[in-house]
Symmetry: C2
Subunit: 334 residues, 2 copies
DNA sequence: TTGCACAATGGCAACGTTAACATTTTGGTG
DNA sequence: CACCAAAATGTTAACGTTGCCATTGTGCAA
């Protein structure tokens, strides 16, 4: 019918309501210095025209976007959903939005994540690191763009936050040692995984701290199949009474592998996993595992950016401990 | 040391390069009507000052944000990660970004998702529906904001896309019937799940289409535990040679439940799930299941918005079929 | 040498919003 | 009723970018 109206601006509302643009703006922000009846008139005009504030104009004026960018090299990955839940929750709390970007991992550098973000309407950015970026040591965040890395490594210029993988292994190993196990065997993961390697260190160092020389580890690949093979291999080892697997899938595979060789869990061998990812999937047992609070990790990252708002806050490093969840796959030997 | 520079604009670059702002803008867009040596001078100035184009100014000028908003009532949910992968991939392809928002589900209405988005810098929006919004029938998208719903329901004003749940059940049921099973028992899910109910319809109607009266279904709750109970219950039913569970966790629970009663899978009873979510988790068998392409669902949604760009494209409804993946939990009775 | 086409560059305005300041109106007091 | 403070409203300018049109410079044919 009529000409296509581009978009409704304060000017249009002002004209219809018979007030100045400024009064409209004040009404939008519910300023106390507008008479209630005037406000009502303006609101009526806004409703009639279907006015909604233009984000671009607003940000341009304010120099702020109220948005945090999240850069991911891999979207699919254990815990990412919970982390996002955390991002969204924290953003919500501060009146911020989240902008998600997939970064091509070739090359796998922080620089590529950073430059990808630089053209987007964000006040700060979070990078989820899965591996070691080539430029981790030399990377400098964009000026004015607060950058938080989700990693357990510390960075001199960027705040970091992640689950405490070392402590996770410490908890597991000590839990087993306390229950009378003489040593703890370990099913590891691919070497490129930062968090996996940190778990490995935690296992090794905690054993050493208790004066125990770590047994030879078995390298897995995160899948239950590799855990199954590991379980079969360890079934013949008489010194093996306790196995710690780097994730729940391998732990479960390991249990089945042990059982396939006639070992019973936990009567003969105890098994502990990490992730708490099998709760609704495995029906007949409750795996003893470590539950991480990825949502909290996500919240911390966004809080750091959105919470600081104007005031530039310093670089911080945060490790969030997991919680060991007792199931029925560990035997107390005492 | 010096005063804090707010941000570098074309003006600053222009001054340093000794050209007009317009020439800087043209250089940014690599216009052919700038002499190569001038371009180089401008580029040098940009590098020196660390110029990056301001998104707000640009969007304000262009009236476009090159961003698609995604509204979710629940971030955590099967398939969401893959869907996001799809959102991000499609956005990337079109040079768009994704803005993620969690919408409070009280009330659970499209209106609340829509108004939440209206203040954000987005050109269009995607809503992931898990349940039936109270205002589904009456909802009107914001003018100028193309809205795509991820749901299998059709909407008169919004394009929709989702996995074809009905067809999923059809495939499974026909697959089993073809292999000589006389009927197919069904482990369902909570009634509030839209997709689950559609699977239920598919099961029921496909059986009827083959002249078979559907047996009484067992209502589960998505967990392996409920599948386990269902498996035990069905173990005593001599007519039951094939079970179709509404997800893999219940299917796996069901298998374990059957085994706990001495039934073997697939020798005595065949079991099929949906989701293909156990591949790396269950070590000793490959579940026959249906794999959905959630990434493609996500891509379709964002393509619809970002692909149309200016030209308003019509309302479309898309159902993306899953693929039945043969494992070793079905016996061919022929 | 003049004229003309075309390449290269510059000036201006506008997108929508709001902070800062300016002005008008209102209500209360002497 | 004049006067003043406070409340209510209006005016202006600027945020950074870029489309449009104007201007200047360059090379070449007449």
């Amino acid at each position: 019918m009529g000409a296509v109206k581009k978009s409704v601006s304060v000017k249009d509302v002002a004209r219809l309501a018979g007030v100045s643009e400024q009064t409209v703006s004040r009404t939008v922000h519910d300023s106390p210095s507008v008479r209630p009846e005037t406000k009502e008139r303006v609101r009526a005009a806004m409703r009639e025209l279907g006015y909604r504030p233009n984000f671009a104009g607003r940000s341009l004026r304010r120099g702020k976007f109220k948005t945090v960018g999240v850069a991911m090299f891999n979207i699919t990955g254990t815990g990412n959903l919970d982390r996002m839940e955390g991002f969204a929750a924290a953003a919500d709390k501060h009146g911020y939005a989240i902008t998600l970007t997939k970064v091509d991992g070739h090359p796998y550098t922080l620089e590529s994540a950073s430059s990808r973000m630089s053209a987007l309407p964000v006040d700060g950015m979070v990078v989820i690191m899965n591996r070691m970026p080539a430029d981790f040591g030399t990377f400098e965040p964009l000026p004015g763009m607060q950058t938080v890395l989700v990693t357990m490594l510390e960075h001199p210029l960027c705040s970091t936050v992640d689950n405490d993988q070392f402590d996770c292994s410490r908890q597991v190993v000590e839990y087993l040692l306390e229950r009378g196990h003489k040593t703890v065997h370990f099913i590891s993961c691919p070497e490129r995984s930062l968090s996996g390697m940190r778990r490995e260190e935690g296992w090794r160092e905690t054993l050493r701290a208790h004066g125990i020389e770590p047994p030879r580890l078995i390298r897995g690949d995160w899948t239950a199949q590799s855990g199954y093979a590991a379980g079969q291999a360890l079934a013949d080892d008489p010194t093996c009474t306790a196995i710690y697997a780097s994730n729940d899938a391998m732990a479960y595979g390991c249990i089945r592998g042990l059982e396939s060789r006639g070992k019973r869990v936990p009567q003969d061998v105890s098994v502990v996993g990490v992730d708490d990812s099998l709760g609704d999937i495995v029906p007949d047992r409750r795996l003893t595992t470590v539950r991480f609070d990825n949502k909290r990790v996500g919240m911390w990252a966004v809080d750091k950016i959105a919470g600081a708002d104007g005031g530039a806050s310093g670089v911080e490093h945060m490790l969030i401990p997991g919680v060991l969840v007792e199931g029925d796959t560990v035997r107390d030997l005492r």
